[in-house]
Amino acid sequence: MKLNKLAIVMTMLLPGISQAAEINGQALNQNGQPLAKAEIEIESLNVSVTADDNGYFSLPSVNACEYVLHIHAPGYAHLHETIEVSDNSSEQLAFRLERSPIEVIDVIAAPMHMSIMESASPVNVLGGETLRRQQAATLGDTLEKLPGVQSNFHGNVASTPIIRGLSGPRVLIAQNGLDVSDVSRVGPDHSVASEASTSQQIEVLRGPATLFYGSGAIGGVVNVVDGRVPSDNDTRGEWLLETDSVNNQKLGSFNITTGAGDLGVYADGYWRESDDYDTPVAPDVDEPDAARSVENSAEESNGFTVGASYLLDDGYVGIAVEQFNREYGIPGHTHGHEESSDDEHDHEHTEAEEEQVFADLEQTKVQLLGELSVNSNWLSSISFRAGYTDYEHAEIEEGVVGTLFENTTSEVRIELMHTPLADWQGGLSLHYKKSEVAAQGEEAFTPPSDAEMVALALMEERHFGDFLVQLGARVERVTLDAPEVLLPQLSAHDHDEAAEDVHDHDHDHEAESSVTRVFNVAQEFTPVSLSAGVVWDFTPGYNAAISVSRAQRAPSASELLSFGPHIGTSTYEVGALFALSGNEDSALSLSSSAIDLETSNNIDLTLRKISGDVGFVFNAFYNQVDNYYYQVNTGLFAESGHDHGDEEESEEHDHSDELPVYLFRAADAILHGFEAQVAWQVTDEFKAQFFSDYVRARLKDGGDLPRTPPLRVGTQLSYQTESLSAHLDITHYAKQDRIDASETVTDGYTLVDAFVAYDFNVMSQDMSVYLKGTNLTDEEARVHTSFLKDIAPRPGRSVGVGLRGYF
């Protein structure tokens, strides 16, 4: 029925028959000088050309009509210009681009305009030189210099981006637009299965992005983009060799794109190895005399991707396979059974047996990507993405797999972009994803579950004079099936009570049988997200934007179904399906309250200066989240289940093997804050940038949310000539004293980083040799958002040298 109507409407929209014409023009800079290598596209037709060295370009024959040209070049503000093409015109047009001190890179393959300067909702794209300069071994650390993004720094071996105070199951990590499909969303010690050193750009959508990515993206999205399925076959590539002193890191990476005829070929690879990293002070605050390095923070990873595509006249389709391997120590993930110190004889044994846990992560990812311009009456292009990932992550203790996490995900996403409809541009997105997640072993705190999602989304935008209106809606059906959810009879206890009847407690455990209740849990959610935004070019060179959205998220399996020790967070996690019972036999039982969707109501305000010698972007947001799932400390303790073999000889009740029980529950939360970014191109060579971000995260009924990033202010001074560039970054992290009851105040700190590069040419290859220094003042920096705050500060002073080449 609907389709019929659509067909009828589309038929009515058929453009009239017109003659072909050519658009010729020249791209110029603010001084009227030709702008070489500018990109010119007609978005509605999905065609683009690159200007020659003198800025001249010519677009192939088009029908006489009105078109919007999108012209952009690195370092310049993007220009949208509406032109009227009449029959047989051969007019020479001139387009003048204004300088933009803030780097503007478009989000790739988005159904609507997405860039730091143009969209209604805030976006960052880290690409090019800046990406290479800021890339780190882990994703959170790579992105942490972006306004609004901080890292949950996990001892240099794992980190995940925190976007406006939200992370975990609220921030979706994607690779080329498809879920990265690892287990990094459920544990801070789980590394993200994506590599920055081979990527082309990393896109960050701040604030609700469920519209594009669904349930997992209520707090934002990080999309790591690379060219694994090439859309052309121009031969190009880059390689890099780097070494850093603080952890003796060695990194080598490359990527290459080439091809012949209709075939495009791509390959990339990287190899990195690092030792335990050094710290300015002893890492553990409780052991100030210990060695100044974080034990078990070494890492070794490598990956290799090959891709090939078939290039068509009006698109491409291709497939790529990636193998990703990573082995890293998990600092602080020691399962200590500390024995009483009187027992000196056992001591030697105990120390020798203290296990270092390391993670061995392996992922195989197959992606099928394609894009096709369609010369149909109502469809302008189709983009197609499908992925299959097989992920396995073993946590190994004493040479044995302690816990094995597996995630098998299949995903398909099809975007159908229509031809302009009453000047509305946009399209329909169909999205399907199925994940089977399982964990076995000691840390298998979440039962195996299958999650399936089907979604339909519509995104549209239209220019109304000085206004750009962006609208979107998405509806999803999410099912979560867990056939075997376990509710063990947890004799969790209060430490005060237990102290008196220690023996009783032990006997309860040993003598009696225990009953584990089993449930088959099936859940079905229908989250709906709506978003509306307006960008107003109120005066040349400036714009203001407002974006309002209502986004919904289905809670994740770990938030609902968990029941067990989670060593990465040192808590015993219990999902929202359960509640305290007040019953003596078992402290926890099934919750009687309904499981509801989490709903974010977000408003975003943006003011930008998009061109000129000074550019800025100011964002303010207010996000009210209803049914925000978070963990509360129940005050109970439960066995971690981490005894290894030998029974404790002492009768003493050993608390070191117990974890506090944290229960997921939902309550309304409010997050608000701002991001500010100012850049001033002082001279052609010298640029000064300033940024700041802040988020306040609290519960509506009072109380702060834990691990909220502190206020930050930072500057970056850069100097750039043809062959020499230098950057000095100073970032101050303020003290965080808005804390949850389980946390302590974290002191502020200032980090100073510097980077100097010299570009040269050897055998017609562009090369760049660079020297970089991080944390130059060797400051003790404890990261408030880190679960390892008190045992693993940031690395101390490090000096790195590297060599890069491009061709």
Binding site: L421, L456, R474, L486
Partner: protein, 456 residues
């Protein structure tokens, strides 16, 4: 083509999308039959362990005083499992480091043989795996000149070959684990000295702490065949290299024992205590005390759960023995009054498996059980009880025969062989009762317990 129509369509499309659902959430929970489990231990995980673990009292090897036979008994039902003919008679009997093998040393014939007791444990990392098989003669042997002191520690067995001055064969040490023996390893870790000596060596991980005989012109020993120094050796590719030497600090060295913290050597003027500190050993000398009556400590006993070492001074020719408690931490030595019966001469000593008791078996057929008591922060060893384990007429003791004992490593039990009654008694140390009697059809000369020792 008019704008109105198109906007209407757009609105309709959006609202139709919205109408398909509006933030629904539905949870269906079906309870399934629960899982019930009995908890023998705290952890469910340990159930798996039990699948692979064997609960056995162990096995007993007994040598025949009149032949080259060695019998192995099953201690679960005290039945004879098998009898083996050793290459030589009159050999000494002990056990391998992890109690799997009976070790038979024929000093006179330069040969060390091994009999597999058939009970052992392997660490399969995810669980401990126990094996129970029939006893078997091992093809593995060690050969060297005058193997004398054979001593296990920390899963390694050190065989000290005294060497032979007459034929110019220097002393040497070979170190083997139970795994080496079972695998009949071709590469045995060996330390060879450049002179013969009546010495001793103790393995500690990849270190070997061994006596060193210096040149006769330098030695502080009254009897130059006894070493007077101690060397710390480190293993590299199967050979031991000397890292430290405590030269001349222990004249007439004889007897050594170690626990996890200290190594104690008997010397003519006291005992030498070595203590590892930051991978370096430090020495401490404890002088002889007056109560020794001019005798010297020639045998030392230790248990890894017990801080105190027990040193024994006895006269050659069967005089009475003086026992001393040595506190290596404080560098003190004190006599233990074990209230011996008149004319009782100890024939065997040892700590019980848990270190709670120190046992003295004497030639009158008494088993003295000592235990430690805390006084003024000192552990004082005192006689707790004395068990009379033989009512036989001692004059019937065969020529050259003696009572002998072996201590179980998985229970508070001791096995005492009685050559007169031709049996082995099982004595429970907790109750002081004789709980079993293994009849023999031969005169026992030595006994050794084999099996799976309780982990510490």
């Amino acid at each position: 083509m008019n704008t109105q129509t198109k906007l209407t369509f757009l609105a309709a499309a959006i609202s139709s999308v919205l109408l398909t659902g509006c933030g629904d959430a539905e949870t269906t929970i079906v309870e399934l039959p629960p899982i019930e489990e009995e908890h023998d231990h705290d952890e469910g995980e340990e159930h798996n362990h039990d699948e692979y673990e064997i609960d056995s009292a162990g096995r007993l090897s007994v040598t025949d005083a009149d032949s080259n036979a060695l019998a192995i008994f099953d201690l679960d039902d005290n039945s004879l499992l098998d009898t083996f003919s050793l290459t030589h008679s009159g050999s000494a009997l002990t056990h391998s480091a992890d109690y799997r093998f009976a070790v038979v040393t024929s000093r006179a014939n330069d040969l060390v043989e091994f009999i597999d007791g058939g009970l052992w444990r392997e660490d399969h990392v995810e669980h401990l795996h126990d094996y129970e098989e029939a006893p078997a003669y091992s093809d593995f042997t060690l050969a060297g000149s005058r193997p004398t002191h054979v001593d296990g520690h920390d899963s390694q067995l050190a065989v000290f070959y005294d060497g032979d001055a007459d034929s110019g064969i220097p002393a040497s040490v070979q170190v083997v684990t139970d795994t080496d023996i079972a695998a009949e390893t071709a590469e045995v870790n060996t330390l060879t000295f450049n002179v013969n000596m009546h010495g001793v060596a103790k393995p500690v991980d990849d270190m070997l702490i061994a006596s060193v005989r210096r040149d006769d012109s330098e030695t502080t020993s009254a009897n130059p065949i006894l070493p007077d120094s101690v060397g710390i050796y480190h293993r590299h590719d199967g050979d031991y290299e000397q890292e430290q030497l405590f030269a001349g600090e222990c004249p007439d060295l004889h007897g050594a024992a170690l626990n996890d913290e200290h190594v104690v050597f008997g010397c003519s003027d006291g005992v030498l205590v070595l203590h590892a500190h930051d991978e370096e050993y430090e020495s401490l000398k404890v002088d002889n005390i007056d109560e020794l009556n001019g005798m010297r400590i020639g045998t030392v006993y230790a248990h890894h759960d017990v801080e105190t070492f027990i040193g024994i001074a006895s006269q050659h020719g069967g005089g009475s023995a003086v026992l001393t408690a040595i506190d290596p931490e404080l560098g003190e030595m004190e006599a233990i009054d074990w209230e011996p019966e008149t004319n009782a001469h100890p024939v065997s000593y040892g700590f019980s498996f848990d270190g709670e008791h120190f046992l003295i078996l004497d030639d009158l057929g008494y088993l003295s059980v000592l235990s430690a008591h805390e006084h003024d922060d000192h552990a004082h060893w005192e006689l707790e009880e004395r068990l009379d384990i033989s009512d036989a007429d001692l004059s019937l003791m065969p020529e050259g025969g003696a009572f002998s004992m072996t201590i179980a490593q998985n229970a508070a039990e001791v096995y005492v062989a009685d050559p007169i009654a031709q049996h082995v008694l099982v004595i429970d140390l907790e109750s002081g009762e004789t709980t079993g009697d293994i009849e023999l059809d031969f005169v026992p000369s030595a006994v050794t317990w084999l099996g799976i020792a309780e982990a510490h």
